[in-house]
C-alpha cells in the first residue's frame, strides 16, 4: 500500500495498523499481544453484560437486563429458526461465536484499539473450529450415512466420479470462505480508514486550499465509521448464521 512519494511527503501506510505488538510487562515473554488483550477485553465485556444483565431479575427489565435478554433471544431465535428444534443444543456455541466475532469487529472501531478479527489466523481458527464441530456432529448423528451427503440422492450414478469430488471440494471450501469473508471485510474497512485519514494529513499539510479540501476525506471517514458499524454487526451475523446453516446440514443432511 505504501505509495512512492517525494522525500518529506507523508506516505500512505495502511497496513502497519495490523502489526502485532506485545503488551504488558511480560507480554513479549509469552507472546501476549494487543490482539490477545482485546480478545480478553471482548470476552470480559460479554460476560459482564450477561452477569450484570441477569442479576436484577426484574419482571420489567432495566436497560442492561433488556440488552442481555435481547441478545440472548436474538441468538436463540436464530439458532432455533435455522437449525430447527434441535438447535437449542448448539445455542451456547453459536452465542459464543457470534459475540466473540461481534466484539472483535466493534472493539476494532474504537480509536487506538485493534481488530483481532482482521487477522486471518484468528478467523481461520474460528472457521476450522466450526467445520470440525459440524463434521463431528454430522458423524455422531448419522454415522457412515453422513458420507451420502457428498452424493445427492437422485443423481445418475455414472456422474458420481464428477459429483463426489465437487461436493467434497465444496464442503472443504466452507472454512476457507468463512474465514476469508470476515477477515477481508475487516481489513478492507480499516485500510480505507487509514487511506482517507492519510489524505487528510497530506492535504492539510499543503496550504489553505488543501486544508479546505481536507474536509472531503474527513467527511468520507465519518460516513465510513457508520458503514463499518453496519459491516461489523453484519459480518458477525453472517458468521453466526452460516454456522447455523452448516449445523442444520449436519443435523438434517441435505
Amino acid at each position: 500500500m505504501a505509495v512512492a512519494a517525494p522525500t518529506g511527503e507523508p506516505t500512505i501506510d495502511a497496513l502497519s495498523q495490523f502489526k502485532l505488538a506485545p503488551v504488558g510487562f511480560m507480554g513479549s515473554a509469552v507472546n501476549f499481544t494487543q490482539a490477545n488483550l482485546l480478545m480478553v477485553i471482548g470476552a470480559g465485556l460479554v460476560l459482564a453484560l450477561l452477569y450484570y444483565g441477569s442479576r436484577p431479575r426484574a419482571v420489567v427489565p432495566g436497560r442492561l437486563q433488556a440488552a442481555a435478554e435481547l441478545s440472548y433471544d436474538f441468538v436463540y431465535n436464530m439458532a432455533v429458526d435455522q437449525i430447527g428444534p434441535e438447535g437449542k443444543r448448539f445455542f451456547p456455541f453459536v452465542f459464543t461465536l457470534f459475540f466473540f466475532v461481534l466484539m472483535g469487529n466493534l472493539l476494532g472501531l474504537v480509536p487506538f484499539s485493534f481488530t483481532y478479527t482482521s487477522h486471518i489466523a484468528v478467523t481461520a481458527a474460528l472457521a476450522l473450529l466450526v467445520i470440525v464441530i459440524v463434521t463431528v456432529v454430522a458423524l455422531a448423528e448419522h454415522g457412515w450415512t453422513f458420507f451420502t451427503y457428498f452424493f445427492p440422492s437422485g443423481a445418475p450414478v455414472f456422474l458420481a466420479p464428477l459429483i463426489v469430488p465437487i461436493e467434497i471440494i465444496s464442503y472443504l471450501s466452507r472454512p476457507v470462505s468463512l474465514s476469508i469473508r470476515l477477515f477481508a471485510n475487516m481489513v478492507a474497512g480499516h485500510v480505507m480508514f487509514a487511506v482517507f485519514a492519510t489524505f487528510v494529513v497530506m492535504l492539510g499539510g499543503h496550504s489553505l486550499v488543501g486544508s479546505i479540501a481536507a474536509i472531503g476525506p474527513v467527511a468520507i471517514n465519518v460516513v465510513l465509521i457508520g458503514f463499518e458499524l453496519l459491516v461489523a454487526a453484519l459480518q458477525a451475523y453472517v458468521f453466526a448464521i452460516l454456522t447455523c446453516i452448516y449445523l442444520h446440514d449436519a443435523v438434517h443432511l441435505h
Binding site: 430447527g84 428444534p85 437449542k88 471440494i169 465444496s170 472443504l172 471450501s173 453472517v238 446453516i245
Partner: protein
C-alpha cells in the same frame, strides 16, 4: 422474558401452538428455507460470490497440488482439480443465489 410477546390478541389455541413450537415440543409450523442469508447490499452479495468462487478454487488447487506432490505426477491432478474446483465454485454460488432447496 418474551413469553407474552406473541400478543394477547390471539386465541388460546394459537398461543398454545406458538408456545409449544417455541419450546421445541412440536415441530415449527412452517420450516422456512434455511439456506438463504439475507445480505442487504449488492456489494455484500458480490463479495460473497467472489469469495465462494475463489475459496473453492483455492481448496481444489491445494488438494491437486498436494496429491501431485505426494504421488510425483505434477501436472496431472493439479489440472484435474483446477477444473473440479471451478465447478465446485459455481456449485457454491448456485447454492447461494439459486432457488432454496426443498
Amino acid at each position: 422474558m418474551s413469553e407474552d410477546d406473541s400478543g394477547a390478541g390471539g386465541s388460546f389455541e394459537a398461543r398454545l401452538r406458538a408456545a409449544r413450537s417455541r419450546q421445541g415440543m412440536d415441530a415449527p409450523p412452517a420450516a422456512d428455507s434455511p439456506s438463504t442469508v439475507k445480505e442487504s447490499s449488492a456489494l455484500g452479495v458480490g463479495m460473497r460470490v467472489g469469495v465462494e468462487l475463489v475459496s473453492a478454487l483455492a481448496v481444489a488447487i491445494a488438494i491437486g497440488w498436494g496429491l501431485d506432490h505426494w504421488l510425483h505426477t505434477l501436472p496431472l491432478f493439479l489440472v484435474v482439480f483446477l477444473v473440479l474446483g471451478g465447478a465446485a465454485g459455481v456449485a457454491n454460488v448456485w447454492r447461494l443465489v439459486g432457488p432454496p432447496r426443498r
